[in-house]
């Protein structure tokens, strides 16, 4: 299959899965901003998603997307190491974007902290409902009660606003999330334009434009997420 057997095919897989993840992040970030405006509105969004079939299907596709992106990244990185069996004595002095050299490491940081993030939210919202665990639902309810957020009555597993408030009440959790967003920012400043370049959507004129778009887009996404972290922290003060 040329998508895995040829270098450009593998790049296409990287690019399409990457763009898919970027689109998801855009949606996720926009949704999170609602939490700043109104806790009730945010909980309504959480309720709408919940563990409904479309949300579960969406999650499954997302997991598949991350897996494809991650596995292909690992394959590419290993193959690229093999393409230079003997290393240079003097490390490269060529001036290139820092992110472009560190995409895999940045990806590892992203996926690592992603697990941390899933424990905070997914494992308290969708997972208990999926497996119907009374204990886990009680645990979530305890956290919601502890958060002290005043809002309209909703099921504990759909009270995203309370979970945000609780999660970001600890300063060190906030710092980890912000570090995560920094890694994401670096990954995306290169990733977005690189993905467009890979599918051939680039030329001399557009080169600087797509790099600029990439920079702006990555910044908007990361600032959007960061705003919710900061909001969550401040709402506890």
């Amino acid at each position: 299959m040329w998508l895995t057997n040829s270098s450009v095919g593998r790049k296409l897989v990287m690019s399409i899965s990457g763009i898919f993840l970027v689109l998801f992040l855009t949606f996720h970030m926009s949704m999170n901003l609602v939490a700043i405006i109104s806790a009730d509105a945010y909980n309504a969004v959480c309720g709408f998603l919940g563990s409904n079939w479309y949300a579960v299907a969406g999650t499954a596709v997302l997991v598949a997307g991350v897996l494809v992106h991650f596995v292909m990244a690992a394959v590419l990185t290993a193959q690229n190491k093999n393409a230079r069996p003997v290393k240079y004595e003097v490390s490269s002095k060529t001036d290139v974007e820092w992110s472009s050299k560190n995409m895999f490491v940045l990806g590892l940081v992203i996926i690592g902290i992603l697990c941390f993030h899933l424990i905070h939210f997914w494992a308290k919202m969708m997972l208990p409902e999926l497996i119907g665990s009374e204990d886990m639902i009680k645990e979530t309810a305890a956290i919601v009660a502890q958060s002290g957020l005043e809002c309209k009555e909703v099921e504990a597993t759909q009270n995203g606003a309370a979970l945000i408030r609780f999660t970001f009440s600890q300063w060190w959790v906030c710092l980890i999330y912000l570090a995560w967003l920094c890694a994401l920012w670096f990954h995306l400043t290169h990733g977005i334009w690189s993905a467009l370049h890979t599918v051939g959507m680039n030329n001399k004129v557009w080169m600087s434009r797509i790099k600029c778009i990439s920079m702006i887009f990555a910044t908007i996404i990361c600032l959007g997420f960061a705003a919710v972290v900061v909001f969550g922290y401040c709402s506890n003060l």
Partner: protein
């Protein structure tokens, strides 16, 4: 004379493709800053011959930046620190008295070492043989207006055609990717009517050959463009991707 410098060279020495290699250190005194980098290496080799030692083997031919033979990785950069030049166009005035200069061969699975600093770049020839040509006789130079080609397109094709096949792009790339070379060779034909006929077949064959020969996957770092002595643009890589993906989706 005030225009001379003393330098230390650390040079990769390897007797054959399968032999282990190592760095040797040489002191060179009174090197004229007017001399070129390769002339400095000639001085080194003359001294080695006089001492009945084996001279350092390195590739070179035209010594005027057009053949692409002079493949040296100097202090962490192919062709040294100057932009848009080959090693033969690099001058000793770019170095300071007391400098240590480390000289390595191109390092790539696709370019095995023949001896010392000389590598085997026939991989590039094989990629060209796979499709880097137009297989019909297109006749002599056509009348300038017979086939109208827009100036910007003609310019892009000429810029791509300026690639001298030196391999610096592969040497500079952290992924050992040959995409800049292949993209230049595909673009110079894909942009022009004579090359369009076989464009789809060509791009598939050349990429397949490139992958087969052990070059890495491009991740758009841009190191190739920064080190290319002819400043071939990575926008050619976008074109290569485009040509390849279109050809594959048509199948």
């Amino acid at each position: 004379m005030d225009n001379t410098i003393n330098i230390t060279l650390k040079v990769w020495r390897q007797r054959g493709p399968k032999e282990p290699g190592k760095f040797e250190t040489y002191e060179l005194k009174n090197i004229s800053t007017e001399s070129s980098f390769l002339e400095m290496l000639d001085v080194l080799n003359e001294q080695l011959v006089q001492k009945h030692e084996e001279p350092v083997v390195f590739d070179h031919d035209c010594r005027e930046g057009i053949c692409g033979m002079c493949s040296l990785y100097i202090n962490g950069q192919p062709h040294g620190k100057d932009a848009a030049v080959t090693t033969c166009q690099l001058h000793m005035r770019r170095f300071n008295d007391g400098d240590t200069i480390t000289i390595e061969p191109w390092r790539s699975a696709g370019f095995p070492i023949i001896r010392d600093l000389m590598v085997d770049r026939t991989a590039f020839d094989k990629i060209m043989q796979a499709g880097g040509y137009v297989s019909v006789n297109t006749g002599g130079i056509p009348d300038a207006n017979a086939i109208a080609i827009a100036k910007p397109i003609a310019d892009e094709a000429m810029d791509a055609a300026s690639c001298i096949g030196c391999g610096a792009c592969v040497a500079a790339c952290k992924n050992g990717s040959a995409m800049l070379f292949v993209s230049a060779k595909v673009s110079q034909l894909a942009l022009l009517p004579q090359g369009k006929v076989e464009a789809a077949k060509r791009v598939k064959a050349m990429i397949a050959k490139m992958d087969e020969l052990g070059f890495g996957n491009c991740t758009n770092t841009g190191a190739c463009e920064a080190e290319c002595p002819k400043s071939v643009s990575i926008s050619n890589i976008a074109r290569l991707n485009r040509e390849y993906l279109c050809a594959k989706f048509k199948d």
